[in-house]
Symmetry: C2
Subunit: 306 residues, 2 copies
Amino acid sequence: MNGIKIIGRGKYIPKNEITSKFLAEKFALTEEYIYKVSGIKSRWYGNKEDTLENMAYKASIDAIKNGNVNYEDIDLIIVATTSSNQMMPGISYKVQALLNIGNCMCIDILAGCSGFINAFDIAYGYIEVGKVNTALVIGVEKLSTAVDLKDMSTAILFGDGAGATIIAKSEKVKKYYSKIKSQGQEAEYLTYEVGKKLIMDGTKIYKYAVSEVPKIINETLNDAKVNIKDINNIVLHQSNTRIMNSIAKKLGLHKEKVFSNIENVGNTFCASIPIALTEINLIDGEYLLMCGYGGGLNTGCIILEI
Amino acid sequence: MNGIKIIGRGKYIPKNEITSKFLAEKFALTEEYIYKVSGIKSRWYGNKEDTLENMAYKASIDAIKNGNVNYEDIDLIIVATTSSNQMMPGISYKVQALLNIGNCMCIDILAGCSGFINAFDIAYGYIEVGKVNTALVIGVEKLSTAVDLKDMSTAILFGDGAGATIIAKSEKVKKYYSKIKSQGQEAEYLTYEVGKKLIMDGTKIYKYAVSEVPKIINETLNDAKVNIKDINNIVLHQSNTRIMNSIAKKLGLHKEKVFSNIENVGNTFCASIPIALTEINLIDGEYLLMCGYGGGLNTGCIILEI
């Protein structure tokens, strides 16, 4: 069975900044309050040209350039999103057309905010058994179309963006451990139906995240027989700073040990982890831990050797 | 690496029959004409209670009973659909809640009419590498909500329904070959965006299907080193009889060798193959070939030893 290596990382963040100052005025709050409850200063909204496929394409081009990847080597495009209304074809097919790659396999995945973890894990599986050599794994969201701009609790959090990670077969078999669990029984904590608005019960999501995320991380560490202190990069879904700090504390980590770019990006659901991956150093032989969580409910953790 | 076996098959077809007599009157055609161009006598539309999750749940219960499967053994629920507007949670999460199965992994897949093939192949991969023991693979559609009832060319074809197949780890490693290819460049042949109507260019879809489907089937047969004459059950996506007969002819087969239930079910996109699986005999050691095709464009073929 094959190992994998990450060979390219890219992102696209749209240009229309939604500042906390703007939101503070809108909701009669202060910028400080918004920062205190979310850890976010800026989110970014796409314009008309920033469709899901265009944002995903731009992040893909960035990843292709970053890794100096040959377009034609890509034999799987897999997209995780929650904010699409395009059921057929999916965004992956539109990215395939924009990249003009013939006959690769394209799949869109719906698995809540942590869909990138599912997409990455599916791509890994195809590479592991030798059916795919190079996979383009994308997380993309246009949450500005889903958010209720009258709902302070979600409007302060969510933004648009895309991240793309290219993974390929590695000659060397490297450690890879994943664990993904869903809880459809708690689905109503965070929902989005096309034509309606995104609805979140923030208190319930907080309680779920600070309980389930440390649990799945510890289980995956156990499977991998790796100590959390030996993980070089810990990339959580960038949900909000309070959740991320609570998770760090429960793991016995200083909050600085857990990567964060949420201050300047906001919470971009499926795009948050691949965007974060563009901002860290990945060094051969080191360990990367990624953990997604959110709507579904769906929680997924991957530990891999770089 | 593990093999797989199919351990349960189920379906749900709603009760509201849309006869060709009704459609013939509506479009000023004859029943004979509709039958000649589609091979369909009846399609079935769901009522208000026949939501995607309810239809998927009923097909799952049918499959669970058929295979005498223990609910709690299911550790992956994967749903292929094209007619959902529920982006978070997906249908798989709702089925998990209805079945009340804790902590299994849930994923929805968007891959056009042939999404069941992708879902089956992903489930197979998880079982093959030992991460999943038992997977519930569902295809479900409520195309009555997507079809333009003023568009004769699609209204005569499409219906609602759900099919569920349960696959599990097999002690015996059995032959399994799959090939899936997408052509996002031809996406506009068949599209569906939530809030709009399904649009199909029937002529282009016909040309694509009768060219690409025999090709991918022959390629998969080559990989498997199996002659088509040795395949015991050939289950194509039930698109329309003209396409299916043309594919049979191109494969050098009498049309009776290719399974068909379209006359009484209609074209149910992702549900068509798992519904068909409930109507065939699967005998140990025999070969089953499944081939999906349609919007995306996406074409997928699986050959497996039962």
